[in-house]
Structure formats: C-alpha cells, structure tokens
C-alpha cells in the first residue's frame, strides 16, 4: 500500500498522465478529509487526559478543569451555525480569541528574546578556537543590527551582512542540500518498503 500510494504521487509529478493526475488529486483530497476528522481525535485526547486529572484531583487539577471549560466554550460557540449566532462571528468566541489566545501567543513568542539571552550567556564562552569564532561573529552580528553601534561605526553593518551572506549562507546551503538528500533517501527507502520505523512494531532488535 505504501509503495502504491508513493508511486501515485511521484509519477504524476514527472509524467503528464491525466488519469493518474486525477487519481492522485482525489487521493490528496481524501487525505485532507481524514486529517480534518483527526482534529476531533486531538480534542478527545485533551478531554480524556484532563478529565482524568480532575477526577483524581491530582496536583494542579483546577488548571485541567479550566482547560476543559474553555475547550467546551470554544467548541460550542465556534460551531458553524450562523442562524443561532454561533460561528466565527460569535462575540464570546471572538473575545476569548482576541483577548486571551492572541495575547498569550504573543507573550510566548516574545519571551524568546530572554531564552536567547540565557542560552547565549551559557554558549558564548571562548573555550577553544571554534567557540571563540562563534563568540566574535555572534557579537559582530548583534552589533551590526543595533543602531547604537551602527550609527557610530557604520562598517559593522557591512561586516554583519558579509557574515550572514557568505560563510553563514554557504553553511546553510550545505546543510540544506544534505538534508534534502537525506529526505530523498528516506523517501526511496519508504518507496521500496524497507523503512518501517514509523510503523507500529517496525524494526528488529
């Protein structure tokens, strides 16, 4: 089945065979339908896990209760029933999305700056020549993007651009080519039916 499904997608990419293209397109649409149904599986998993925690009164069970309450509210108010005032234009749905979910997501994204600082303090130590190169180039990149430095030393912008466009770009392209070849090899192994690690019980001891 894996081999047939893989060939069904690969062959129409290279060969203009209308019948196969139609079948591949139908298969892709079927996959999208299955994925849409899988969304409910996720919700059921969340409810099962957190309902057990509420039932057992484990540590922090009230947070699990809160999750369940919000899941139920969002599911009910987000139902596509415009005639009952539900759906994407429902005021409760929009209020929770605009005033709770969006700010929380923005908060999580913004604390990345502090995580980067924390990681940099640990990592940027000149223990050897390679670490020293990382430290110097990292410092130059930061300085080249901070107006407080670039206004007084304009050449920092050129240096940081050079670091980004020449050695960094070369390394990234090398890693990307390697990763692409690895993905192709994985696809070939899947196509040949010998890669079974992602299947249940796949692989040998």
């Amino acid at each position: 089945m894996t081999i047939i499904a893989t060939l069904l997608q690969v062959i129409p990419y290279y060969f203009d065979i209308p019948v196969l293209s139609n079948v591949a397109s139908t298969a892709t649409n079927a996959v999208l339908l299955i994925v849409a149904c899988a969304t409910f599986v996720g919700v059921i998993s969340v409810l099962m896990v957190h309902a057990k925690r509420v039932q057992r009164r484990t540590e922090g069970w009230y947070f699990s209760g809160l999750i369940i309450v919000f899941v139920v509210i969002m599911v009910l108010t987000g139902l596509p029933l415009q005639e009952f005032g539900l759906g994407s234009k429902n005021s409760i749905f929009n209020w929770i999305f605009t005033n709770i979910q969006t700010p929380l997501g923005g908060t999580m994204y913004s604390i990345l700056a502090f995580f980067i600082t924390s990681a940099a303090v640990r990592a940027f130590k000149a223990r050897n020549i390679e670490a020293a190169i990382v430290l110097v180039s990292g410092t130059l990149m930061v300085m080249g993007n901070a107006p407080i430095f670039t206004n007084t030393v304009p050449v920092l912008v050129d240096i940081s651009l050079w670091i980004r466009n020449i050695p960094n770009m070369a390394t990234m392209r090398g890693v990307m080519i390697g990763a692409a070849l690895g993905a192709v090899a994985l696809a070939v192994r899947t196509l040949m039916g010998i890669e079974r690690g992602y299947l249940r019980g796949g692989g040998e001891d």
């Binding site: 599986v41 890693v175 192994r189 299947l199």
Partner: protein
Amino acid sequence: MAFLIQGRIFGLICLLFIMAAVAYYIRQAQGGKVPKVRRIPGIDAIDESIGRAVEMGRPVFCSHGIATLRDSTAGPQTIAGLSVLNYVAKRCVAVGAKIVVPVRQPEVWPIAADIVETEYKLAGKAEEYSSECVQFLSNNQFGYASNYIGLMMREKPGANIMVGAYWAESLQLAETGSRIGAMQITGTAQTSQIPFFLVTSDYCLIGEEIFSAGAYLTNDAMLIASLAGQDVGRIFAVILGLLGAIVFTMGSRIFLDLFAM
C-alpha cells in the same frame, strides 16, 4: 517523450540515479558486503539517556516535532522522529522507564500512540500502557510549547529527546530541558533551528543525520546500505555544484540549461 513534464526531467534523472545507487548497495548488502557507518554520538547516547532517566526515577520525554506528515520538507522529519520514537519506546518498555510523548498534530497522534502501545504489547506489558503516555497538547504552536514547558517543569524528565521539525519554540523547549537538568538529544533539518539546539542540548543531530537515525538504530543491513546510496547522491551533488560554478564562471550556461531541462 511528450508526456514528460518540462522543467522536471533533470530532477527525474537525479531521482532515478539515487534510487539506482540505493538499490545497488542494498544488493551488495544482501551479498554480505555491508558498508561501515561512522559513529553518530547523538544516536549512541539515546540508550545512555534512557538509562540515566531510569536511575534517577524520572520519565523520558520523546517528541517527534511539530510538523504534519503531509508537508514536503518537514514531513520526512516527522517520519524520522517517529522512527526514533519507535526505538525509544522499545527501550523504555524494556528498562521500565515511563515515556511521555507530547504531540502537536492531531493526525500524528494516532500513529504515535499506536507505536508506543504496540511496543508495550510486544513486550507483554499491555496492561502497563496508559493513554496519558501520548498526549495531544495543542494544535497552536505556542500553546504546544507552553504546555510542553509546563509538563517538563512538573515532571522533570531525566531525558528529553526531540528529533523532528521544529520552529521558533525549539529554543524554549531545549532551554527549559537544560534548566531542569534533563539529558537532551535533539535533531532537526530546519537550518534556522540547528544553532539553538546546538547550544542548548548535550547531543545534536544535524540535517541528514536525523534521516539516518532509523537505519542506524535498527542496525538493519539493508537500511545501512541505503545510507551509502545517499552518500553517492551527495557526491553527485558536490560534483555538479563544482562543475556548475566553474563552467558558469567561464561564461557557459550549459549547466543552467541542463537543470532547467
């Protein structure tokens, strides 16, 4: 050959070449000539990290990334992560370690749950499996990240294995794992996230190493032989790149026309 799509012929030739190389080395392996694979410290350390978690009485966290299986670039990374999960689940069940698998994509959750549950059943420990082992956290990127961070702060895993496709949340997850003292083995082919994993984890698999993990861990002769075929493709890409740069510098567009064939 009118039915060959223009602009993709050279890609087809390259794909067939790599497939032929993989098939050749697999045939060699079936005849007993298995190529040697260099040691990958990150993959070797998986057993050590699970053993460490067992000694400390702490769970093992193993995630396979936040991408779907359908994405053309990130999907293979998710498959690689699931291959690693297969091995980690097998080892955890064997040594009696608790495994926790945080999941972002609902379509991947049944696959991950099936992998873990099957390992319990194969070991004759079906009754020890709990559906809470494999948890769907959130479809939202930072909802998943905050939930994962909260899980790590509460459960304090002894080992945190993250192999797959990650984006902005990678540093948050790895840094949190580092702060709680978990032994971390990470791996991704997302070039923008590799530096974050390198500075925060104990071992990092870079790029194509994650796609080799499944073959490396199973120690299957045919899978290892396929890695040699992958290397042939890499040599071919390097030669094409060098020749193309030289020829283009000399003013010829022959390689550009070849790639656009």
